[in-house]
Symmetry: C2
């Protein structure tokens, strides 16, 4: 039986933030947007339909929880968001994952989606640590 | 109490396809991609968190159902898909809606997301009618 592992592609652009009941949670290392990635710990899953109905319900609720944290991250940075963007794409990295991204009308790519637009701006270490602390509380 | 209505922005680029238990379902009028839009019939909702837990579970299951139909549309057109893209964005039209889009590695914007890329190519009437018939069965 295959064991769950995180695709190495995620480790390049994001950092581990938390383990929730279903998902391995990562903070995208991009100071442009408050942005979490949820990766269900289900080996081999690439589509939502590969999760059980029960896991799908959990994923939805963990998505809501991530949205609240994204809002809190944005407020802590003094830049409250106007809209959440939630997406399971997987065209570049097939392993099933859900992006939860906070967007502002004045952000650099609004109203376009964030994927494939512009370049990531890594957090400075203190800001990254503050974000990870806040996720721990959420 | 506000009544549910579909934002007129949707009627410009998509056609009514079905009413499911939670969602008003539309077919994006774009022959480039098999693409459904699910709009929960909940007045005023713009974020997933605005739905009840029960409605969120239903939305997840209707998203799975839409994914199966998108696969079937793609197969009926002789162009089976490689990946589903599922997203609740709402930067342009805030009313809560979920896109379920079928993607192929050889489609015109792969691996980028479809939103804001290229121009829609309206279905010819016969193809649109065939797609709507197939959705009716799904």
């Amino acid at each position: 039986m295959a064991l769950f592992t995180v695709d190495p592609a995620f480790t390049a652009g994001s950092v581990f933030a938390a383990d929730w009941p279903l998902c391995h949670v990562r903070l995208q290392d991009d100071a442009r947007f408050p942005w979490l990635i949820l990766i269900p710990r289900v080996a081999g899953a690439t589509e939502l339909e590969h999760l059980s109905v029960s896991d799908r319900t959990t994923l939805m609720e963990e998505t809501i929880r991530a949205g609240a944290i994204v809002r809190a991250l944005a407020e802590a940075a003094g830049r409250p968001i106007d809209k959440l963007n939630v997406a399971a794409l997987g065209n570049v990295t097939a392993q099933l994952h859900v992006h939860v991204v906070g967007r502002r009308r004045d952000d650099s790519v609004w109203p376009d989606p964030v994927w494939g637009r512009g370049s990531a701006l890594a957090f400075d270490p203190a800001a990254r640590a503050r974000a990870l602390d806040l996720i721990d509380l959420g």
